[in-house]
Subunit: 476 residues, 2 copies
Amino acid sequence: MAKNITARSVDYSKWYTDIVLQSKMADYSPVKGSMVIRPNGYAIWEMIQQNLDKMFKDTGHVNAYFPLLIPESFMKKEAEHVEGFAPECAVVTHGGGQPLEEHLYIRPTSETIIWSMYKKWIMSYRDLPILINQWANVMRWEMRTRLFLRTSEFLWQEGHTAHATAEEAEEETVKMLGVYKQFAEEYMAIPVIPGKKTDSEKFAGAKHTYCIEAMMQDRKALQAGTSHNLGQNFAKAFDVQFQDKDGSRSFVYATSWGVSTRLIGALIMTHSDDDGLVIPPKLAQRPVVIVPIWKSDEEKEQVMAYTNAIYDELKADYSIILDDRDQYKPGFKFAEWELQGIPIRIEIGPKDVEKNNVVLVRRDNKQKQFISREGILDKVKSELTQMQADMLDKAREYREEYSYKIDDYDELKKIIANDGGFIYSHWCGDAACEQKVKDETKATIRCIPFERENEKGKCIVCGNESDGRVIFAKAY
Amino acid sequence: MAKNITARSVDYSKWYTDIVLQSKMADYSPVKGSMVIRPNGYAIWEMIQQNLDKMFKDTGHVNAYFPLLIPESFMKKEAEHVEGFAPECAVVTHGGGQPLEEHLYIRPTSETIIWSMYKKWIMSYRDLPILINQWANVMRWEMRTRLFLRTSEFLWQEGHTAHATAEEAEEETVKMLGVYKQFAEEYMAIPVIPGKKTDSEKFAGAKHTYCIEAMMQDRKALQAGTSHNLGQNFAKAFDVQFQDKDGSRSFVYATSWGVSTRLIGALIMTHSDDDGLVIPPKLAQRPVVIVPIWKSDEEKEQVMAYTNAIYDELKADYSIILDDRDQYKPGFKFAEWELQGIPIRIEIGPKDVEKNNVVLVRRDNKQKQFISREGILDKVKSELTQMQADMLDKAREYREEYSYKIDDYDELKKIIANDGGFIYSHWCGDAACEQKVKDETKATIRCIPFERENEKGKCIVCGNESDGRVIFAKAY
């Protein structure tokens, strides 16, 4: 176990914070509720951005940028929206040394400002669809910070699309949730369950909200992405109508969807161990570290010649760290790169040079392999691929181990109170039953899974009829 | 001349706004002083980011993210800094429904918040240098908006580095100005003059400021990037000291450097013409548009088969627009893509199919070339390369045409009052002489060029001794 990192078994919450701070992913800032994303953390965000952005573009979306500040009157145009967001806004009252005529809110999300522009841009069916995404910072006031998971300011992307028909908007909402699911599983190695939010958990202003839910190592759920079908709510609030081919006029249909730097918290809590961070290879900006080992100057010369040739071979394909610092011992270096989660470590000592070998250690399973110098690039490639797959499998197995089908309310309460996990139970659809579980166990309905057995049953709370099981869990 | 675009000769300022709005680069927002960057404009920003970010990383820098909001007390720690920036700040006084104990400023620039963190991170010489860059939005209150050139909120990058010695900081300051110069010339095709700002024009809080200056088509100067040597000013303000190898303690040396979405304004004003935007090929996300032309269904079938094969060949290397819309005529399409500045247009009609040709038109010089179907990819490549070079040459020639060596103050006044341009004149170094020129002509000293003749002379205002010429010009 690494120095300065509390074990998960001792204090999970402290373990998480230790990992984030010790691996230099982020730091607390002097501004209440805000964090600093340090280079190690930001590098992962860059990889998330790069890969997600490509997926957005491949599905026909383009990027744009809308103002940070939103007039108070705009926020008030959609009743549910302002009720949901206004209480957590930061408010600008002065600018350029003068009090402002109208207060401006720092965007908690951009539906209102964006739909005020769509009103200018949408006249006819020819202007539709609009498929715009924005990468931006947003702010929702928080006093109790949890690095990456809950901060006042965070970074995210928010897609905002406009469509001529309800069907097209629904199709887009589902499609983008699919993009999130694919990204979470293929890149982040986080298995997720796609489903629909209950009315009490949906986005303020949406017709309905879809989400992907992941299980962390403390068996709590984390919502990793959401996609909202906004119906005509914002089009009506901002009077955005279009003329159709037949000359008729209708309100435009909307969707919005987003993921945030919270994903980095999910990544840490899904994969890391008591020695530090574990980065899935596809999100590692620098997936390999080489640590040469020597005791004498003579050994150094020999080892470094051999190492440099390997470094040159690998760096054509990967961004490699070559840790040839003189002032630190190998053990210290191993621990440091384990803490920072570098997927593959290659150790090269005088004996390896002699035998034309290297030692390769994967960060996820820590197994040592002696591999031949020949074909090292192919071996690194295949190990990275295998590690990516193994991490997803391991996380999926963990989730399945702590997933239960439960039909007895006392049993549900017992599981939530003890180990926690995902509890699949019947629910009648009544918000009162949902609220009762929340009040008594702190567990909420994470989602109504898209894929669920066609199985009638009785609500776990009231015994009324249910069309299928939903997922109850405590959540971040 | 395109519809809806005022000619430069009629009203340069209106021409600029027409280009931005008509080519859908940006739009006015309902929030005073703020703009919306539309997808066509944002695509150029993405290309700027991508290429500059690579240059930053190649010079050893990493990215991070610091909070948007800065406590008022932090801004006040550096006397010149607060004097320069506080009057143009937006101020948050309420958060989460409560008045705040301390007002928070939306960052106008991030030196103060970043140096408050460097205080936590820097203990010894081993922690230096820190080479961090941030891509972010910033806000400086403005009431009179000029799209891209002057808006309250804008996007930029700000590098903030920390060093053990004054020499290293100066080296970094110069190096990053060099990166900006290279980027401006190689990617934006904008020739720039690197130099030093006079004291009255330097950054609030800097020891000295270096800049690159470009000439627009109305002969005004535009500052396209700045790099500041901050000396120990911010280290002293935030008490950031480090222990050196010999055990002694010293304050840390700092630099900061930035470019912003203003560059997009510079790009438009350097290259565009009365028909619309002209994008340098290296910054065009989609550098080629293909417009197939037909009159009958039979022709369409034939032309599209030929076109699709060419499209497939080119799209392996470039992101191509294939404009096969039925409802618009070719002339309309040509005008639209000219307006949007797509570097190369390929026209394909029935006669071209017959002759195994295509028509290629470059956006910058509008020359039509009949080129053979064979080797079309190589031809497109070489035309894009040539266009990039020609645009830089043309802009440089324009600048040289309107650059003057002037030793008589009345003549300086006359040129500024008439055509304008860059006026190289002697200056004694006295701020009073600088101010007099500004008051009487509105021209300022843009920079003391790094490369200037070793030539003694007499100050154009007071006649006192001068060590060399500086550049006077009106500026954006």
